[in-house]
């Protein structure tokens, strides 16, 4: 991948600037709302937000809802990924199949699934299932298209060499195609994790009685900006945590590549 640049970046310095940026943003926000430049009814206030978050954590209220959202996200994410990889392999293998389904795939992918959420709730109820389906519909296409592309980008020489060296179709998948496509699949996983959470939250937002989407939607209906923003912060933290985990996993599977930045 990318080689390290000519100039060595100093991480300590970068970290310093990042923290400074965050702190000054929060300070500006706090000051602006305290001195009445902006009404805190609309934008809340950092200290109030922090208090709200602490209250949620202390009472355990947030964990119940976060757990519901995470369950939907993870189940949908795993199923969507599995389905995407499987169908990607199937289509990359059978050219005819790929040609037949190509317009359908493109059309389905172009469809804004978020708008379909009310229909999913109508079909699959207010509970877990409708959200999982929503997540799958978002994750599947991202993973499918990357797997498909990844498999078509496999080095032809490697495939030919494996054929000459006596690889069976199973060997080919296990030792050539899958490792080669994994780079693409992992890149897509990190994109689709964000989508997965969006899917679950939007599903909850439109119809549910628990989960982070429900918390946010409830706060919104009460014109409670603090509740909405605090909910978003919790979601942000969740996405970052998942992304870090996936990054670790990616590094674990790309041990054979030169170190990247």
């Amino acid at each position: 991948m990318a080689t390290s640049g000519a100039k060595k970046v100093s991480w300590a310095e970068i970290r310093f600037w990042r923290i400074l940026l965050l702190v000054s943003f929060l300070a500006l926000w706090e000051v602006a709302t305290r001195w009445g430049w902006v009404d805190k009814f609309f934008v809340s206030q950092p200290t109030v937000l922090a208090g709200q978050l602490w209250e949620w954590i202390r009472s355990g209220f947030i964990f119940r809802h976060l757990l519901v959202t995470m369950k939907e996200t993870i189940i949908g994410f795993l199923l969507g990924t599995l389905l995407g990889v499987a169908i990607g392999f199937l289509f990359a293998h059978g050219q005819k199949l790929a040609h037949i389904f190509d317009p359908l795939m493109v059309a389905l992918n172009a469809m804004p699934r978020v708008v379909l959420a009310p229909l999913f709730i109508l079909w699959f109820g207010l509970g877990l299932l409708s959200k999982v389906v929503m997540v799958i519909s978002l994750v599947f296409f991202v993973v499918f298209f990357s797997t498909f592309t990844g498999l078509r980008e496999v080095d032809r020489d490697l495939v030919n060499n494996a054929r000459i060296l006596g690889a069976t179709p199973r060997h080919m998948i296990r030792h050539v195609l899958l490792p080669s496509a994994l780079t693409w699949i992992f890149a897509s996983l990190r994109t689709s994790v964000g989508f997965a959470l969006i899917g679950a939250v939007v599903g909850e937002y439109l119809g549910s009685h628990e989960g982070m989407g429900y918390v946010i939607s409830y706060a919104e209906s009460m014109f409670n900006a603090t509740g909405v923003l605090a909910g978003l912060i919790v979601l942000m933290a969740a996405v970052i945590a998942i992304d870090v985990a996936l990054k670790r996993l990616d590094t674990r599977f790309s041990y054979w590549k030169p170190t990247r930045w």
């Binding site: 020489d157 030919n160 054929r163 000459i164 060296l165 006596g166 080669s180 054979w256 590549k257």
Partner: protein, 274 residues
């Protein structure tokens, strides 16, 4: 040259290969009416200007691509699909970047169902042969170009193919590494006496290595001439160049090759401009 006594003979009879040109309603003729006989254990090089279909010939013999017309037979048997008795060394090193040196060299044995216990000594032997003992657990990105090429060579040789097809295998290496690899190849060849069909655009390399040289014309590739190389063996590629006959052979063959190279070059220029 009809010494078909040992196994590993290759016969090409009036082989023609055409590919459809994408988005145009015509066929591109890569090679035309090529007839070549290679006896078992012989080292034959194919030289010709770039784009003359040398590599296409190897893909056809390996069974990677079905032949358009004509006949290709290995030990009298027509080629139909990939043949496990063949080895192929690619121009770019087609080794698996996600596997270690040891795993790469052992992969063909794994593919062929050799159990791990029996495979281990054979893998160790070949890693030692290519001088990479101690590098077993390295991944390809940690190796130099020459080392990667050695891994590719060991990977091909570990299953003891009767015929080895080599497609400009050393083209990307620097001259010193290249000469070392060529000597290694000659040594391996002298010990095992497999048939080698070696494609190159480097005439010096071809003379230094081969028993015979097939000169091909610019596209569409036809056989222009075949030259026996009667230099003494065993050879060292670095020293054989000083043999009195080397210059004479070079001059004779180059006279044939030169026109084709010019035609090939002019065509590629025209292709670039139009």
């Amino acid at each position: 040259m009809s010494g078909h006594g040992r196994t590993g003979s290759i016969v090409l009879e009036r082989v023609t290969q055409q590919f459809p040109v994408p988005r145009e309603d015509r066929e591109f003729t890569a090679v035309q009416d090529v007839s070549v006989d290679v006896s078992g254990g012989e080292f034959v090089s194919i030289v010709g200007p770039s784009g003359c279909g040398k590599s296409t010939l190897l893909s056809l013999i390996a069974g990677l691509v079905p032949v358009t017309s004509g006949r290709i037979a290995i030990d009298g048997e027509a080629v139909a699909g990939v043949n496990p008795r063949l080895g192929f060394v690619f121009q770019r090193d087609a080794i698996f970047p996600w596997k270690t040196v040891a795993q790469n060299v052992g992969l063909p044995l794994l593919f062929r169902g050799v159990d791990a216990g029996a495979a281990r000594p054979r893998v160790a032997e070949w890693i030692a042969r290519i001088g990479l003992t101690g590098f077993e657990q390295y991944h390809p990105y940690q190796l130099s170009g020459g080392m990667r090429k050695r891994v590719a060579l060991a990977m091909t040789m570990v299953c003891e193919p009767e015929i080895v097809l080599m497609d400009e295998p050393f083209g990307a290496l620097d001259v010193q590494t290249r000469n070392l690899m060529e000597n290694d190849l000659l040594e391996i060849w002298a010990q095992r006496r497999r048939t080698v069909l070696f494609v190159t655009h480097d005439l010096e390399e071809a003379i230094a290595l081969s028993d015979r040289i097939v000169v091909m014309t610019a596209s569409p590739g036809r056989v222009k001439a075949v030259y026996p190389i009667d230099l003494p063996r065993p050879r060292s590629v670095t020293e054989i160049r000083f043999h009195p006959d080397f210059g004479r052979l070079y001059e004779t063959i180059w006279k044939d090759l030169k026109d084709e190279v010019r035609v090939g070059y002019e065509r590629s220029q025209k292709g670039l401009m139009g």
